[in-house]
Point group: C2
Chain length 618, copies 2
């Protein structure tokens, strides 16, 4: 029997409890995002302030995390989001998940609030809280290093797992993230870093020698399944491209189809050349190191640096982990295509501990509000010096930065232009215009954490044609229905991926049959007897539990398309397209497929998924 | 009888005491720097850590501050310096001194340490401590504004006096300053901001309606003397130049005689063109506002801004108060002549609360150490992006910034090259190479607060020929002796100016007879009967009391010339000159004039000055 070992850390009482989640619950929610969504719904009281001691942080690996397998060392962080007020799950790669499991625990639940800044150290099942007053205020790079060195490790992030918040988390910036080893991995979205900061928890170090193979019922059988999958991934062309260029290979691709949002989505298609912020250009012009998460055959991390000029880095830690979303959010979306300013901005976001996507959303919102005369700020699109100054001011909540630290949605509301907000459930959008990649017109707006591209990633079909090509401009009723089905399927299977906790890249590869592969892996690992359909049902169960967080709070239950997304794209290859029809028609199909009414699961749906215990919330 | 009203604020016990200093003590030490030096020597225990609650901050106006008179609204801050470990006095213009006196007190003594961040508000003799947790972390501009607004004032720094520390003070950066209203005035040197930060005192607001004229024995007589002096100042050409260009008119002048230090004084004369950071150039190329301290006929403040590019400001408070020392320290001394980077650096120093001179000293030291392979830092002379990043890291003590936050002297010692330090008593030098303006070869190294140009300012003679021209390259024994006398006289009279507390600009004007004017002012104001010689004796008494701080601590008593100043200037109009002869010969004359041996007052000297009570320290 496999179990899920949790360490519950009550910071108010400085008390640790070990808890074991039994196999029957794992079979229903796996670990990671799924198990955390379920436990959070049961444990976090209704109506509480996300930054109060009553909130909890669920930092969970999954049943298969860190065992030699496909891109498996990811970690999920679930909490009541200070950004959207209700719910978020954030997810990071690196090695934290691996070392967390090695330390003896599969998950951590952090509750209460410390009296003084502390950090948590777990070595081989021995947890302790250590004072962190001397690290409070330090940026994420230095904090990680100090925590490693104070605990007998070299300043090498591969040797132990470290999670830290930066000044942004300490200062309760609503979109602060948690930096995870190794090297600038982030649990970014929804303000998980502010929750950690509100608890005066500066960091977590995990390390140990637990033999994860012992968790397997039949290691040989498991390795056979695993080796087959790894082989399929490792030899695939997509892997080669990702290894060479990382996620930012998307910059030119998405721009070429007119789906790269420019100027807070107000000018998609208007920036004619984004080449200087594409990874092809950057790797050609800047020294770049590459890196991979623990035991990952893809190793997609690209780490370029700026060696001269006004945006030079000059710190011991010279390279920045660059990703497509980050590059876009702090580049084209703020009208900036200077690669050096862009890399510096990403470096600053990572060092100060800010979610790059929401930072970009917020900066672009500030520019629009300023240009509309609503905000007394002298800043324009692509205004590198001004934007850099604002990044610091946000992290430290200084002056106007105090307003910006509340995020794009609250900023737009406060300054009287909520119609400029393009996200959903209070969280801004990632790097794809849903009017040109219309699967996102459903996926973004139904996402349970708000404005999100990782609960379902429809460009897999629309751009890469995996497993089959779907028209991104999708106009016919047939296509719309197909997209609704894709989104639903993808949301369910990604809920499984996020609960396992694996990376989503394998989904991009046509030789991967996700639900079957996951069934095979779980069955081999633990002697379960899941069918591919069972795997999907687990995903659906998780997705519905997440939606119940919104139902319980009575906030943003119904999915909505913001006004700007009903306007046509102003320029470029996708000029004239809007998301209105896709959303209006698609959502009807989608709700039907989900067994939902106006964004809310029906009683029968909960019953079908074995969620009767939550019927009282309806 | 005039008295000096002190509010003693014990932050540990949240207790206020009013104290009155009687006229007999004022006649010996006046107020400001003099009275504070005396009281600090009696009150601050020997050997204590400057950042411990046992240290005290003396924030003193002077007996004539804020009364309609010459450039009189300056304030003196005295404390045990965290930078040099023993003693500093820092001095700021603006209006704080005026509003402090209007509030009912001539001086504040801050002692102990608060449990939580607080700020002090004094309105018309009613002091109270208010919580400042919500302002802790804010930069100086925003902090000033919040404190004004919370206390019923518009966000206009002319309406009340406000003193605040920024992140640098909170983070105990050893050269943090205290920002004083109005508009980026600073009590900069010696780390007074770190002392305020160590006490968890974020700010001070002072305001009131006390009629300062009532302090005068004979207002009509006083105004007659005053009007005559003001007339002489206001009509002088120097005033016109200072009003037009501010102190940074010195940039081209000092460069032209080869006395502008470049590259941490290692390359004086090597930068061939510093025009872009001269005020003439800046006022021609950048929008600039001008401003004056309270009731000052000179109004020298120049406030330019950067409206575009990588160093654009973009904050509500758009202008930076630019001074010659600041421009030099963060310009030519770090090998930088880009006026936009330079203005942004000054803005950052002011916002983050750093002493610009020591910041420049420290950055240039870091560059030299890096170029010598001692510091693992990729930074070069004039490296604007890298240097900007380091400024933030210093203020937040992040990573290598933690070492830099200790200041240039400790940095040089830690990384094994103390010979690169060019200051004295642990404090770095200001903007004149003492090998080309040799009066400073005595003045800098005998200064009681270390590396200082305002205890005596010999360029008055060497550059401006006021009251007579003295050769700055001064080689003959006759000239050396003359310089030693000038330094001694200037130190004594400036001790009086700093204790009154006035501005020193009038000393630049040949139609001012300082000791006579001060005697006339004091006699008219309070019915005293000081002779000009009495005025000088008061100055000498103060200067000796300051030196006793060093004697008591047994640290840096003997004045010393650092090795680099014995080397010849490598380039430019002053090429080949060294400070060795001037110092070695001059100091002998100087000690004789002072009645000192090896930097220590003789028993007879103390007796002559009425300082017998401190004989036990010898």
């Amino acid at each position: 029997m496999t179990v899920f070992r949790i360490l519950r850390v009550d910071l108010s009482r400085e008390h640790f409890t070990e808890e074991v989640i039994k196999e029957d619950l794992l079979k229903r929610f796996l670990g990671g995002r799924g198990l955390a969504a379920y436990m959070a719904l049961k444990e976090i009281p209704r109506g509480i302030d996300p930054l109060s001691p009553s909130n909890k942080l669920f930092i969970f690996s999954g049943p298969l995390s860190g065992i030699a397998t496909i891109s498996s060392s990811r970690v999920n962080v679930t909490t009541r989001s200070p950004l959207n007020g209700v719910y978020t799950h954030a997810n990071a790669g690196g090695n934290f998940s691996y070392w967390l499991r090695k330390s003896g625990y599969d998950g951590l639940i952090i509750e209460g609030k410390s009296d003084e800044p502390v950090y948590l150290v777990i070595k081989d099942g021995e947890p302790k809280l250590r004072p962190a007053k001397h690290i409070w205020g330090k940026w994420t790079g230095a904090s990680t290093k100090i925590i490693l060195e104070e605990n007998g490790f070299p300043p090498d992030e591969t040797k132990a797992g470290v999670a830290v918040v930066g000044p942004a988390g300490e200062n309760l910036v609503k979109f602060a993230g948690i930096r995870m080893s190794d090297y600038e991995r982030f649990a970014g979205r929804g303000g998980v870093g502010a929750v950690m900061g509100s608890k005066l928890l500066k960091g977590i170090l995990v390390w140990g020698t637990r033999d994860l193979n012992k968790e397997l019922v039949d290691r040989a059988k498991f390795m056979k399944v695993n080796t087959d999958i790894v082989k399929r991934i490792a030899t695939h062309d997509t892997t080669k491209v990702l290894h060479k260029y990382g996620t930012n290979v998307l910059m030119n691709i998405v721009q070429s189809i007119g789906a790269l949002p420019h100027y807070n989505f107000s000018g998609t298609g208007k920036l004619k050349d984004v080449t200087p912020v594409s990874e092809e250009y950057i790797k050609d012009h800047y020294p770049t190191e590459t890196h991979g998460c623990y035991n990952c055959p893809i190793a997609c991390t690209q780490m370029p640096t700026v060696k001269s000029g006004p945006f030079k880095f000059t710190v011991t830690e010279k390279y920045v982990k660059q990703e497509y979303e980050n590059t876009w959010a702090l580049g084209p979306n703020v009208g900036l295509t200077d690669p050096e300013a862009n890399m510096k901005f990403q470096k600053l976001a990572n060092e100060l501990g800010l979610d790059t996507i929401s930072l970009g959303n917020t900066l672009s919102m500030a520019v629009e509000l300023a240009k509309n005369g609503k905000l007394n700020l002298d800043v324009d699109w692509g205004d590198a010096g001004a934007l850099e100054y604002l990044i610091y001011k946000i992290a430290y909540r200084d002056g106007i930065g105090d307003d910006l630290a509340e995020g794009d949605y609250r900023l737009a509301v406060k300054y009287g232009m909520p119609q400029l907000f393009v996200g959903s459930r209070g969280q801004g959008l990632p790097a794809y215009d849903p009017r040109a990649l219309k699967g996102f017109a459903i996926a973004y707006y139904t996402a349970n954490r708000g404005g999100d591209h990782l609960e379902a990633y429809t460009p897999t079909w629309e751009i890469f044609g995996v497993p089959e090509k779907v028209d991104p401009f999708c106009e016919t009723q047939e296509c719309i229905e197909k997209q609704a089905r894709i989104v639903k399927w993808n949301q369910d299977i990604f809920a499984v991926v996020d609960s396992t906790v694996f990376c989503k890249f394998e989904n991009l590869m046509p030789n991967i049959d996700t639900e079957k592969d996951f069934a095979d892996l779980y069955n081999a690992a633990f002697g379960w007897d899941l069918t591919p359909q069972d795997v999907l049902t687990i995903g659906e169960r998780i997705f519905n539990v997440e939606r119940l967080h919104w139902v319980r709070e009575g906030k943003w239950i119904k999915d909505e398309l913001p006004p700007r997304m009903r306007e046509p794209i102003p320029d470029g290859p996708a000029k004239g397209h809007s998301a209105a029809k896709m959303f209006d028609e698609g959502i009807k199909v989608y709700y039907k497929l989900r067994g939902w009414v106006d964004g809310k699961p029906m009683r029968d749906t909960l019953k079908k998924l074995g969620l009767e215990e939550f019927e009282y919330l309806l």
